[in-house]
Symmetry: C2
Subunit: 224 residues, 2 copies
DNA sequence: ATACCACTTACAGCTGTTGTAAGGTTTGTG
DNA sequence: CACAAACCTTACAACAGCTGTAAGTGGTAT
């Protein structure tokens, strides 16, 4: 069942939305605390997020902006602020749709279904800044060029992008790519990093995979 | 430059829309005849189509419905009919967005940009009914399962989907897959068709590739 | 200066893909 | 039913690309 997370501080409206969406067959839920809403949203891994704009703490716009860097799920902004500039702001920050309160349940459902349908086709796509990786085929796309990575290189790239912008430790790499944390041969990491860097270079990307001596590797795509 | 085709019979509104979109940096154009609008649209291969609903001949809804089977470009419905049921109808037929006239140019541009951005990631996806094929990697997806085809099988599948629901002749197959219409060996087609069918069968798809004796092959995905 | 960590290149084994060959099955026609 | 043409299937060997190992070079912190 598809999970929809509603970030809305008005408790009545929130329950109404949850009710509407559940009736339509979705697993709808809404956090009531907005303390660590960013972490909570990430942990819930929703298939769609419906965000209000005026929230205690971070605004819906801020949330939208920070999530769209990794673009794992669609975001629908639902707000009482109905001016054109609000809509332009939301869409400009990467929101996938913009609706104003009050919103007829049927309209919400229709828009929701359309977003979920479109994003279903992007389900295997992992994003990190301007890079996107199809985790099934390891097709790596960067501005209009692409390249199909070999399996091992692809697994490494996937991990680097999932952890972006954090560092990936070597033990984590071993566990995730070779399914063992035991010492295979340290060298195997370096050989494959070398191969990955050469592949990235063929895409016109240099110095994106950075080694942190004694720690591991990070992806750096800020300058791209 | 991205091409946007506007299907709108009101000449003043059409020119206004074209002007707005051109100013925003798009290659906007609008056919003035609506005779063979379906073929014309297909031939123009737009990056986005903006459709009116009330058109001479086929309605925008009909156009939308028939194009969404192959889903090669996003469709925005722009109409004066502003009831909720019009919007639900449009979205239900697969339209990617729904706006009502009159529409502020900035809103149109913002929605347009969002659609183009989203579809940019789907650019390599070819659709035929419930099947979709990534033409870069030959990843074939069918309801939540997928499979990566070998290059030759993928090229054949690509051609079958591009021509869907028409038959693909053998000479066309040779030309498109083996880059020669000369006699290689007739058998090579049959061997690879056999392989493709076996692959499709692993996805749970049987009898989708049908031979027309003496003519060629067709994809049949109606029952799927 | 030294020890450690990281990088690069070469190589051989392995895997998956491809066309050819050979033989079997289906379909249409007289 | 007999026959031929068209189509299907399986097996096989050549080939290409991927992977880990090995060996040697380069860089860095103490």
């Amino acid at each position: 069942m598809l999970r929809i997370v509603i970030v809305e501080d008005d408790i009545y409206l929130r329950e109404e939305l949850i009710h509407t969406l559940k009736k339509a067959g979705y697993d709808a839920l809404g956090p009531s605390s907005f303390e660590n809403i960013e972490e909570e949203l990430a942990a819930l891994r929703p298939d769609l997020a419906i965000l209000d704009v005026n929230l205690p703490g971070k605004s819906g716009y801020e949330l939208c902006k920070s999530f769209k860097v990794k673009a794992s799920f669609p975001i629908l902004i639902l707000t009482a602020r109905d001016t054109l500039s609000d809509e332009l702001m939301a869409l400009g920050l990467g929101a996938d749709d913009f609706l104003t309160k009050p919103c007829h349940p049927d309209r919400l459902i229709a828009r929701t279904e359309r977003l979920l349908q479109t994003y279903h086709k992007l389900r295997s796509l992992l994003q990190a800044g301007p890079l996107s990786l199809d985790t099934d085929t390891y097709k790596l796309t960067y501005t209009d060029r692409f390249l199909i990575l070999a399996e091992t290189e692809g697994k490494i790239m996937k991990l680097l992008m999932e952890r972006f912008p954090n560092t990936v430790g070597k033990s984590e790499l071993f566990f995730s790519v070779w399914e063992t944390e035991e010492f295979v041969d340290e060298n195997i990491v370096q050989v494959n990093m070398s191969r990955l860097r050469k592949s990235l270079s063929r895409l016109g990307i240099d110095n994106a995979v950075r080694n942190i001596r004694g720690k591991g590797y990070v992806l750096e795509v800020d300058g791209l």
